[in-house]
C-alpha cells in the first residue's frame, strides 16, 4: 500500500512537470488572420481583409466581463493616438443581443468600430479562449501578437506592439 502511494505521488509530480511544458497561451502568434465580415453599430458590414495596409487590433469583449469594461476607455485612447499612423481597432462584442452593449457604450462612448458577433462565428474562428482576448494583425494581414484577459498595464504592452507594427512598411 505504501509503495503504491509513493508511486502515485511520483506520478502526480511527473504529470505536473509535463503540464508545465504546455505551450504558453499568450505572446506571439503567426499565420494569416482569418477573414470575417461583421455588422457594425450602424448596420454596415466591416470586412477584415479590406483593412489590409493598416495595423488592426481586434478585441473580443462583452459587457458582463469586468476586465473588458475596464479596458474599453484605454483602447479608445490607443485608437485616438495611433489612428493617423494607419492603425484601426475593431471591438467585437460577443453577446447574443446588442442591447447591453449599446447601453454600455452610451455610458462609455468609443469612437472605434464596434462589431457584433451574436452567433460567435468569429469567436470560434479565432478560438477565443479567454475574455477579453486581443489579437494584433500587421499591415500584411498576419496575426502577430495575442493576449488573453486584461490586467492593469496591458495597455502599455499593446502600445509598444502597435508602435512596432506601425513602423513596418509593406
Amino acid at each position: 500500500m505504501k509503495r503504491l502511494q509513493s508511486k502515485l505521488h511520483k506520478l502526480s509530480v511527473l504529470a505536473i512537470m509535463l503540464a508545465l511544458v504546455l505551450p504558453a497561451q499568450a505572446g506571439e502568434v503567426a499565420g494569416p488572420a482569418p477573414d470575417f465580415t461583421l455588422l457594425g453599430r450602424d448596420g454596415q458590414p466591416v470586412t477584415l481583409s479590406e483593412l489590409r495596409g493598416q495595423v488592426v487590433l481586434i478585441n473580443f469583449w462583452a459587457t458582463w466581463c469586468g476586465p473588458c469594461r475596464k479596458e474599453m476607455p484605454l483602447l479608445e485612447a490607443l485608437y485616438q493616438r495611433y489612428e493617423a499612423l494607419g492603425f484601426t481597432l475593431l471591438g467585437v462584442n460577443v453577446e447574443e443581443a446588442g442591447t447591453d452593449a449599446e447601453a454600455f457604450l452610451k455610458e462609455t462612448p468609443v469612437s472605434f468600430p464596434v462589431l457584433f458577433d451574436p452567433e460567435n462565428q468569429v469567436s470560434e474562428l479565432y478560438e477565443v479562449s479567454a475574455m477579453p482576448s486581443t489579437v494584433l494583425v500587421d499591415r500584411e494581414g498576419n496575426m502577430r501578437f495575442l493576449h488573453h484577459g486584461y490586467q492593469d498595464g496591458y495597455e502599455d504592452i499593446y502600445q509598444d506592439q502597435i508602435r512596432s507594427l506601425v513602423r513596418e512598411r509593406i
Binding site: 502511494q5 502515485l8 503540464a19 469567436s123
Partner: protein, 75 residues
C-alpha cells in the same frame, strides 16, 4: 484514510494532466449567465460570514462552509 489520500491524489493527477488535451466545453464568450451576480456562490460575503457564524456557534458541525472564520467564546 489512506484510500482517500490515494483517490484524491489520483483525481489531482487527472485534473492536471487533462490541462492540455480537454477542450473547454463552455467557451469564455458563453459565460454571460455565469457572470450574473445571482449565480455567485459568495455574493454578500459579510452576510454569508455572519450566518455561517450563527450556525457554527450553535451546531456541532463546522467547516466546508465557504467562509474561513475565526474562533470565539460563543456559547
Amino acid at each position: 484514510m489512506s484510500q482517500l489520500r490515494i483517490t484524491l491524489t489520483f483525481c489531482l493527477v487527472l485534473v492536471v494532466t487533462g490541462c492540455g488535451s480537454v477542450e473547454p466545453w463552455v467557451k469564455p464568450y458563453e459565460r454571460d449567465r455565469l457572470a450574473d451576480p445571482i449565480m455567485s456562490f459568495d455574493r454578500d460575503p459579510v452576510s454569508n460570514g455572519y450566518i455561517n457564524h450563527v450556525y457554527e456557534a450553535r451546531e456541532g458541525a463546522r467547516g466546508a462552509s465557504g467562509s474561513s472564520g475565526g474562533g470565539c467564546g460563543c456559547n
